[in-house]
């Protein structure tokens, strides 16, 4: 087992009722790597990401996070997850940022950030508050500590969500279309925070529609379509010289807009 491998997903299958959304998708992510997953909507990229922290349960394949197996499939096709408490511990190595932020509206910005460290890890309030404030300062929101999420702009909400995920000290950050619900003029501030994380060598998987961002920040770009990985490579390879016709069509379609 390569200890540098942060996530290893092998031949992931997932169906919603009759619809097969993932058809054997495999992905290895090295420590410190930034992987961008692009593709048309309905390609299964978000579903794939959500399988990594059990927001979706897979129908086949195996997932290993930080060297610990989360789920595997026996030779006769039975999917076996490790027991609940262990699965929770393994998934705690991931932090997730959602398209629609999913901040807790009844808690202030600071309370949103300190909630999980206190409840899940049992860290004392006075110990976590300085850390939380530092995280919020890094995303530029140290003047909003006592605001409720409803008072924030979309970009501010998403930056709180990033700080909230980081407060659990994850090894891998999962971004599920973090800028798709934002007004165009607000995407920049969120992308800046994510870029900053990349510079600190945080391991990240980013599902995104921001091609410019994928090109700039990612070490590796993966193009998915109809539940399969069609093409992957460095940003230069995928954007500069796409091999597959479906990738070309997708990128042409985007640049034509």
């Amino acid at each position: 087992m390569n200890i540098m491998k942060m996530i290893s997903a092998e031949k992931i299958y997932k169906s919603f009722d009759e619809l097969e959304v993932l058809k054997g998708v495999s992905l290895d992510v090295e420590k410190g790597e930034v992987v961008a997953i692009i593709g048309p909507s309905g390609s299964g990229k978000s579903t794939f990401l959500r399988c990594m922290n059990r927001l979706e349960l897979i129908d086949g394949g195996s997932i290993t996070i930080g060297g610990d197996q989360l789920v595997s499939t026996t030779s006769d096709g039975k999917v076996v997850y490790v027991e609940e408490a262990k699965a929770r511990m393994i998934c705690r190595r991931t932090g997730m940022v959602f398209q629609h932020f999913n901040l807790f509206p009844h808690l202030t910005v600071l309370e949103n950030v300190i909630e999980a460290p206190m409840t899940v890890k049992g860290i004392k309030k006075e110990e976590i508050i300085p850390e939380a404030k530092e995280l919020l300062r890094k995303v530029g929101l140290d003047d909003k500590l006592d605001s409720y999420p409803s008072r924030l702009s979309g970009g501010q909400k998403q930056r709180v969500a990033i700080a909230r995920a980081l407060a659990m000290k994850p090894d891998i950050m999962l971004f599920d279309e973090p800028t798709s619900a934002l007004d165009p003029e607000l995407t920049g501030e969120v992308l800046k925070s994510i870029r900053q994380l990349a510079e600190e060598h945080m391991t990240m998987i980013v599902v995104t529609h921001e091609m410019g961002f994928a090109q700039d920040v990612a070490n590796r770009v993966i193009f998915m379509d109809k539940g399969e990985i069609i093409e992957e490579g460095t940003p230069e390879e995928v954007f500069g010289n796409p091999q597959h016709q479906r990738t070309q069509a997708f990128l042409n379609h985007l640049s034509a807009r």
Binding site: L55, M96, H106, E115, A116
Partner: protein
Amino acid sequence: MDYIFNILDQLLISTQDTFSYIFRILPAMVDGTKVTLMMFFATIALSLPLGLLLSLGRISRFRLLNSAIGVYIWLFRGTPLMLQLLFVYFGLPIIPVIGEVLVLTAFQAALLAFVLNYAAYFAEIFRGGIQSIERGQYEGAKALGMTYAQMMRRIILPQVIKRVLPPVSNETITLVKDTSLIYVLAMNDLLRTARGLVQRDFSLTPFIVAGVFYLLMTFVLTKIFARLEKRYAVYDE
């Protein structure tokens, strides 16, 4: 001139009479109010937590528990509260085994019926509240590593409280008045006390006094719930 003074005089005397009559019946009315309030507070204290438990069971994945609670709610919302009172007090004692073990005073029987009935209503209110919370809240909590219990306690239920305050307030105010049904078990609550006095003294004044008492109780409750709603209004969804 004399005539007018005469009328005023009589009015004064009758007003004085009325007031002294009210003062005379006041101790009895206060005693009746105590019974009403005891029933009210005991019912609230027990039916709210029971209702919460039932709502959690109603949305659980355990089919059997889920549908058993469904039947329970159907029974208690689908039959008159009066019937339930009568059944608990007069019906349970004649059922073999149960009747021998379960010996209830009128107060206990009434309380049992009220708690079971109101818990059914509260369970449905809470279920609706819990299910109205967006899926993203559950996912956000789960992605942060929370257990089901942590998620419910820290994230979901605090938001549910805000959403269910208006219907819970409604039910609570209804309960104040529903307690008057215990007259069928011959308990001297506020209304039955008033009725006794009306029949004894051939005066409607006790009914008016009882009405004012009920209004005072519901007024206080309305204020309390308005306060709570204001406190939860610090955040928007």
